[in-house]
């Protein structure tokens, strides 16, 4: 790729990267604030775990283009492409976070929970002092999976006009310009790799403390 190419598209690549990050970040924020509390709630009433996880699993299984298609005709949502994109990304991010929050807390040594109760920790104290810290590396692993998935799916959001790096890819494909395709694909892949290793670092940090 020549200097001329960057001179022409550099600004746009940066802009679309920021947009991509914004879509993914917003979706992750919403998904986390939904899935972590729901995951915790499921540990309190495990008989709901199967049906709730089942719904999240179905959402996860829907092909991403189809998901955007389903959301397009909805009122309010359909008016803005970014809304559709964020809601779809949330739907994909739910399952990994939910599953790992639930499994992380359920997997805590029963004796630890027993003693936490017997020492007179209230439910909230048990959650914040014992369960969440001990499940943290699990929950972060879920966040990592969800983030990488979302960075990937966000490229497809360009198909409904939500922007992001996918836009360069789609435009490149349409105009048979490989440079344009790569200008979208390389930063998107880099974002995914960076998110993966950064969150992986966090995850390990929490794991060491909990060992």
């Amino acid at each position: 790729m020549s200097a001329g190419f960057f001179a022409q598209y550099g600004g746009e690549i940066a802009e679309l990267t920021v947009e991509h990050l914004w879509l993914t970040g917003a979706a992750m924020l919403f998904a986390t604030s939904i899935a972590v509390p729901v995951g915790v709630a499921l540990t309190r009433s495990p008989h709901w775990a199967r049906p709730v996880m089942g719904v999240a699993n179905i959402l996860q299984t829907i092909p991403s283009l189809a998901m955007f298609g389903f959301l397009l005709p909805l009122p309010w949502l359909g008016e803005r492409a970014a809304r559709i994109a964020i809601v779809a990304l949330i739907a994909y991010a739910l399952l990994p976070i939910l599953r790992n929050t639930y499994a992380g807390i359920q997997g805590i040594d029963a004796a630890v929970i027993e003693v936490a109760n017997a020492l007179g920790l209230t439910g909230m104290q048990r959650l914040f002092k014992v369960e969440l810290p001990l499940a943290a590396s699990f929950i972060l692993a879920g966040l990592r999976t969800a983030t990488v998935t979302c960075v990937g799916i966000a490229t497809i959001a360009a198909a409904v006009g939500a922007g992001g790096l996918g836009e360069l890819i789609f435009r490149g494909v349409a105009s048979v310009d490989n440079r344009l395709v790569l200008a979208g694909a390389i930063p998107a892949a880099a974002l995914a790799l960076i998110a993966d290793s950064a969150l992986g670092l966090f995850e390990r940090w929490f794991k060491v403390r909990a060992a």
């Binding site: 004796a111 630890v112 936490a116 109760n117 017997a118 020492l119 007179g120 810290p133 001990l134």
Partner: protein, 268 residues
């Protein structure tokens, strides 16, 4: 002396209808140690867990300090009762010091007080604070973990200590050390202790009273000497079964050791 713990016709049945406690009545004097003996499934752990309401009896009443614990605030009740279990249940993400100081932390004691209290207690259970306070549970041996568990149970200076097979997972030498340490500690501290064990020798060594449970019923409630000399058929059967079990375990162990030495000898 008054009763620190009193069981009044305590009953417990599971949702499926299995009866685990079938009308248990006895009292534990303040400052005394009572061992509840029994085979697996006799209901001894269930009984212990009714005291701090980890289990709510389906009938009868448990009195702690003369008051029914049904109406008690369960959080306050539990914070006032020490609890030690075989698996220790130390918090793996806390240092030894924070594990020990957790109940004082919950009670809102200042950090400096907590740290000092933790260190005193570590000393009490025979661990050098300078060496152990900053360690994490995974850096301790089984015996050391159990000592930390005991220190944690004592942190809020509870009058009552519940101990469920506290030394059950330890090797015989460590177990004997722990029993010595506990006996010495109880002599000084005058706690009311409810100790659940299947180990007759442990009960004889540590307890002022021995309660034998069988299928959720009290079949004997005697001092250690009376227990050993009892002509009650069920008590005698338990003593015989215990010694037979010890013998079998001893033989298995020496066979294992022989096997191990053979294996070692056959290695080039």
């Amino acid at each position: 002396m008054s009763a620190a713990i009193e069981f009044r016709d305590v009953r417990f049945a599971t949702v499926q209808g299995r009866v685990l406690l079938d009308g248990i009545s006895f009292a534990i004097e303040e400052g005394s140690t009572t061992a509840v003996l029994g085979r697996s499934g006799s209901g001894k752990t269930t009984l212990l867990r009714t005291v701090n309401r980890m289990i709510a009896p389906t009938g009868g009443d448990v009195l702690v300090d003369g008051r029914s614990n049904v109406s008690a605030d369960v959080i306050a009740l539990r914070r006032g009762i020490g609890y030690v279990i075989q698996e220790t249940g130390l918090f793996p993400h806390f240092t030894v010091e924070r594990n020990v100081g957790l109940v004082p932390e919950l009670l809102g004691r200042p950090r400096a007080d907590r740290a000092q209290r933790s260190r005193e207690l570590l000393q009490t259970v025979g661990l050098d604070p300078a060496k152990f306070a900053e360690r994490y549970p995974n850096q301790l041996s089984g015996g050391q973990r159990q000592r930390v568990g005991l220190a944690r149970a004592l942190a809020a200076d509870p009058k009552i200590l519940l101990m469920d097979e506290p030394f059950g997972a330890l090797d015989p030498l460590t177990r004997a050390e722990m029993q010595d340490m506990l006996r010495d500690l109880l002599d000084r501290m005058k706690k009311t202790v409810l100790l659940v064990t299947h180990d007759l020798d442990e009960a004889l060594y540590l307890a002022d009273r021995i309660v034998l449970l069988e299928e959720g019923r009290v079949v004997a409630n005697l001092g250690p000497r009376e227990f050993l000399g009892s002509i009650d058929a069920k008590v005698q059967a338990y003593i015989r079964a215990f010694h037979r079990g010890e013998k079998v375990r001893g033989e298995q162990k020496s066979e294992e050791q022989n096997g191990a030495s053979h294996a070692a000898a056959s290695q080039p």
